[in-house]
């Protein structure tokens, strides 16, 4: 609302993105590019309505998320999260990827769309969610956070099931190429950061 996102970069759609269709959030909102290496975030000042009485200076973010290999599909075992760091190795970059036993999930990749990845940091007060992954029937959650009991739904983009988080649990966007699973972006702001790409 208060930020203008520069849509100069074309968005590529790969097979997995198209296959998700309408259960995915609109990826055009995130700028991603395939191949290439990490690009630093930069902000650009733009003046809107320049020269008029309504002139305002706004900041525009030109974001570039790195593309990082985080797992091999064939090595993922059901209900066994694998840890990785993203988008860098700095503070609050702890994340996990998990195969969730053949139940489809929003943003899921793999043949059953059941492979998802999320930040480990609770978006309430930064509590650690490591070891809180659970599967109950068809439900897949992380939580209760040891600090204040927040629980997140891993099939529904990390939406809060019950709890105090100020934001859904940041979901790491994944793309698959053969057996390789890449992290390519994040939906939401990681706890403790003011910008995902600044550490």
């Amino acid at each position: 609302m208060s930020e203008i996102t520069n849509t100069a970069q074309a968005v590529k759609k790969d097979e997995s993105a198209e296959a998700h269709g309408k259960c995915m959030l609109n990826r055009r909102k995130f700028l991603m590019y395939s191949g290439g290496t990490a690009a630093a975030a930069s902000t650009v000042s733009i003046t809107l309505f320049a020269g008029t009485a309504q002139a305002e200076t706004r900041k525009a973010s030109v974001q570039g998320y790195p593309r990082k290999l985080v797992a091999k599909l064939s090595q993922l075992k059901d209900h066994q999260p694998v840890n990785f760091n993203y988008p860098d190795d700095g503070k609050n970059s702890q994340a996990m990827i998990v195969k969730m036993g053949n139940v489809q999930a929003g943003g899921g990749v793999g043949a059953k769309r059941d492979v998802v990845a999320f930040s480990y940091m609770c978006t309430h007060q930064g509590g650690p969610l490591q070891t809180t992954y659970k599967h109950v029937g068809d439900q897949r959650v992380m939580g209760q956070c040891p600090l204040h009991l927040s629980t997140y739904d891993l099939r529904r983009h990390g939406i809060i099931v019950s709890g105090q988080a100020y934001q859904s649990l940041p979901q790491v966007l994944l793309e698959v190429e053969g057996d390789n699973v890449y992290a390519v972006g994040i939906m939401g702001l990681l706890f403790g950061r003011q910008d995902n790409l600044s550490a």
Binding site: M121, S162, G163, Q164, L189, D195, N196
Partner: protein, 898 residues
């Protein structure tokens, strides 16, 4: 249901070092966590990641529990006409309440409340509106006030005060409630007056009142320092989150045993169970039976706190006493006649309890649907001495409990608490946990003698304004900050009545001419119809959108300086930091314009501080007494609000005392504190008695009865049992109870519809059904279902009670005062084991599909309150919702996974 999907941002600005910093407290739940507002102009540089570059003094990325700004905690608002960034996060420096800078999801998103015309708050009311040809049309303040005042005065003169009804919030800041009640009770002086959560202006917890317990005596510390804590009718994690996370959870970690008396299990109760606590998962409305049985087990084992009882329980003569309290219709009258409630003391209570067949533990457990072992376990934890020492027991209640059997349950818990020695010592307290914050200050007395309602043997009872309106006696309805209709039971019937009296009346405004508008509205009132005026921040449907003839735009939290207290009587100043939209004014100012136009004196305030200063002396008898803060302020050459500002988020707990020698203000940690001694009095300068304007009332160290001791009361099941049996699910019916949910504040006040993050989680009406019940009906999570009933009982007439049983439900049925309504609502089904088999749990107040349409409109026959939690209905699948297979919104994961 269409919702806008929440787009998670991946950045948020941090406030710069020179940002304005203002303190405030949350506008939502009772806990009232302290917050800091950081404000800096749009266009100015944001804060940087280094500690020296931002207002927090923290290096980013920050650590667990440190300051962090989620994108939802930032907004753009207007301050002095210019755009400013605001970041609102819990105060990490506060010393009380939300220690460690904790907050709930509700308060955490306070920034989203601010008026910002580029967001969903853009439909804030900005100008007065008058309905012309069915359309709400902007009008000047002058004209709109003229219309309301002229028509209101006409109704008062021609139809009497009782025809002028006022329905208002009870909590939205002391300045507003003082002005509103001064107008309604002192000047208009109408008995047709009540608050948002009850049809009649009566106490919500009659049992507490009659026993002598204040609702908010405990300090938050007490809830964590008991050895056994019993929680009735709520999961505090859900609706008083930080009270649970910062006060109860640490207690549990220290070994506090917790008993939860509640049909359903959410995250807090699940945690309690995981840590070894006890869940009494009863059927709705059966609490009295279980409590009576627990009390019996305690007494039969001789585990009662006999020392405490000996010193603090009234005998018959003592509970009879009360000359000067007034005759007939006072609480002690209720106690002392009929033989229904009063006891001669402990032995008499014990004898009575042992005689009641329903309090046999096996019988009680069976009716309540729980394992009888739990009754014995609870009794042990509450009262059995361990190594010769009695456990320190505290008991807290909330709406699930006292809106189920209002009188019976609150009587029973007061007696159980007293037997276990709870109520008057640190860690051994009794009280409500709270719902709304405590922002009520009465500016006048309720004219009960003008009420048309009477119960047998009494003078007058506070008027049931729903029934009064329903029977056609209200000609002018003045509705302030409440939806009225959906908040009351049998809502579909109430809405139909509004439609009939307001919209279908032939006298409708068809002209923009002020005189003609006034003439038409007068004719409507005279012809037996009803005129509606409405003050609010948003246009509510239907009270504002469909029915109001005049709408006034109100200013709210953050737009005006206001005072209020939380559940441990902690008073704070809620500071203004952004401009109210358009021409919106605070409610006290709207009232003052109207009152002056109607010729009432004493409404010439120029600022909210002036209102607060006038109100202070009326606060002196109450638990929020803040008069001494004003005294201190004036001695120091400050205003009341200026002095309150100095307290920041720490605030000061009422009642307040002032030591004239040291110049120090003192707050009160807890009420009914029988352990207060010499040291505390000396610190306050009161060691020789009251000094100047200090008032140290009885409830500080004793209880609210004539003698200052506790009344031990009976709680006969028979007063409610006939209704409960009649209501109990038959054939394929299920209990249809309702309540709140953690992520939404109350009824979705101003959050759920306007925060994509929240509306995505809770996009519409929902109902929880146990898997056993769902399976039988072919219902799965995500299905659209209809809950319906052909037997919603409605007490339809205003009657004078003559004989003792006249208000008993079975008598009302027999005498034709109960009509059975049909009602139905739709919702998305959540199939979950957290609710009890045989019982559904729905959203208590979805605006479009209120569960209140299925709840009984039969007020408690003693207290006059609705038992909102009582309802039954059938449920069937009518289709599938979009959320069944779509992953973007809602969640059907159980809320009790630990």
């Amino acid at each position: 249901m269409t919702i806008d999907y929440y787009q998670a941002k991946d950045h948020a600005p941090i406030p710069p070092k020179n940002a304005d910093v203002l303190t405030t407290a949350c506008d939502y739940c009772i806990v009232a966590c302290g917050y800091k507002i950081y404000r800096w102009p749009v266009g100015a540089k944001d804060g940087g990641m280094k500690a020296s570059e931002n207002a927090f003094g923290v290096d980013f990325p920050s650590n667990m529990l440190q300051e962090w700004v989620a994108p939802t905690q930032h907004n753009i608002c207007t301050h002095k006409g210019k755009k400013h960034n605001v970041v609102i996060i819990p105060d990490k420096d506060t010393n009380f309440v939300n220690t460690n800078g904790d907050s709930s999801i509700r308060g955490g998103l306070l920034a989203q409340k601010c008026y910002n015309k580029d967001t969903k708050t853009k439909d804030r009311l900005k100008t007065p509106l008058v309905r012309v040809n069915g359309v709400l049309t902007p009008m000047s303040w002058n004209d709109a006030i003229d219309i309301a005042a002229e028509v209101g005065s006409h109704v008062l003169k021609k139809h009497g005060e009782a025809a002028y009804g006022i329905k208002t919030y009870s909590y939205q800041y002391i300045e507003n409630t003082y002005a509103i009640t001064k107008y309604a009770l002192r000047h208009v002086n109408t008995p047709n007056f009540t608050f948002h959560d009850t049809p009649a202006d009566v106490t919500s917890t009659p049992g507490f009142r009659d026993a002598g317990f204040d609702n908010f005596g405990p300090s938050y510390d007490d809830w964590g320092s008991a050895e056994t804590l019993m929680i009735c009718g709520t999961d505090p994690y859900e609706t008083k989150t930080v009270l649970f996370t910062q006060h109860i959870m640490p207690g549990i970690a220290n070994g506090m045993k917790v008993i939860a008396l509640n049909p359903r299990e959410t995250a807090g109760i699940a945690y309690i169970k995981k840590m070894g606590g006890l869940h009494l998962d009863i059927y709705p409305g059966s609490d009295n039976l279980v409590l009576g049985a627990i009390a019996r087990v305690v007494m039969q084992n001789g585990w009662e706190d006999s020392d405490w009882i000996k010193h603090w329980v009234n005998n018959k003569w003592e509970s009879n006493s009360g000359f000067g309290q007034g005759t007939r219709n006072t609480p002690w009258q209720w106690r002392t006649t009929w033989g229904k409630f009063q006891t001669k003391g402990y032995e008499d209570y014990k004898k009575w309890n042992l005689k009641q067949a329903e309090y046999d533990p096996e019988a009680a457990a069976k009716k309540a649907g729980i394992d009888v072992k739990k009754i014995y376990q609870a009794a042990e934890w509450l009262a059995k001495p361990v190594n010769g020492k009695r456990p320190k027991t505290s008991i807290g209640i909330e709406k699930g409990f006292y809106w189920s059997n209002n009188t019976g349950n609150t009587n029973a818990i007061s007696s159980l608490a007293t037997i276990c020695g709870a109520g008057g010592r640190p860690g051994q307290v009794v009280g409500r946990f709270g719902g709304h914050q405590r922002g009520g200050q009465k500016g006048g007395g309720y004219p009960r003698n003008k009420s048309a309602q009477k119960v047998p043997g009494r003078r007058r009872q506070a008027l049931d304004t729903d029934r009064w309106m329903y029977s056609g006696h209200t000609r002018f309805a003045h509705v302030i900050g409440t939806t009225w209709i959906q908040s009351m039971t049998g809502s579909q019937g109430l809405a139909a009545k509004f439609e009939e009296l307001v919209v279908k009346n032939p006298n409708q405004v068809k002209s923009n001419n002020k005189a003609e508008i006034i003439a038409t509205l007068k004719k409507r009132a005279d012809s037996g119809g009803m005129v509606v005026i409405n003050q609010d921040i948003y246009l509510r449907d239907p009270i504002g959108a469909k029915f109001a003839d005049v709408v006034f735009p109100a200013a709210t939290w953050g737009e005006v300086d206001f005072m209020r207290a939380n559940g441990e009587r902690r008073l704070r100043l809620y500071q203004a930091f952004n401009d109210a939209p358009g021409e919106a004014k605070p409610d006290w100012e709207i009232i003052s314009l109207l009152a002056r136009k109607m010729g009432f004196d004493g409404f010439d305030w120029k600022s909210s501080n002036e209102v607060a200063e006038e109100a202070s002396r009326f606060s002196r008898k109450g638990r929020k007494a803040f008069h001494m803060v004003k005294v201190a302020a004036h001695i120091e050459g400050k205003t009341l609000h200026q002095k309150m500002r100095e307290f920041g988020t720490d605030g000061i707990q009422g009642p307040t005392m002032y030591n004239y020698k040291t110049g120090m203000l003192h707050g009160t940690k807890r009420l009914h504190d029988t352990t207060v001694g010499e040291k505390q009095f000396t610190a306050m300068g009161l060691e020789n008695g009251p000094v100047k304007e200090n008032r140290y009332g009885k409830k500080m160290t004793h209880f609210n009865s004539q003698t200052g001791k506790i009344n031990l009361q009976k709680h006969p099941w028979s007063l409610f049992g006939d209704l409960w049996e009649w209501l109990s699910p038959k054939k394929d019916e299920l209990w249809m109870s309702n309540g709140r949910v953690n992520e939404v504040w109350q009824s979705g006040f101003d959050d759920v519809e306007r925060r994509d993050y929240i509306s995505q989680r809770w996009p519409g009406n929902w109902v929880e059904i146990h898997p056993d019940d769902a399976k039988k009906r072919g219902i799965e999570s995500g299905d659209m279902v209809m809950m319906y009933s052909e037997r919603v009982p409605v007490f339809k007439d205003t009657i004078l009670g003559v004989h003792g049983k006249d208000f008993q439900f079975s008598e009302l049925m027999k005498n034709g005062h109960i009509k059975l309504d049909k009602a139905s609502i739709t919702a998305v089904a959540i199939v979950t084991p957290i609710t009890k088999p045989g019982a559904m749990y729905g959203n208590f107040l979805d605006m479009k599909q209120p569960t209140n349409s299925l709840t009984i409109r039969v007020p408690d026959n003693i207290s006059g309150n609705y038992n909102y939690k009582m309802g039954v209905g059938k449920v069937k699948k009518i289709g599938e919702s979009e959320f069944k297979k779509d992953f973007r919104g809602m969640s059907f994961a159980p809320r009790n996974i630990t």
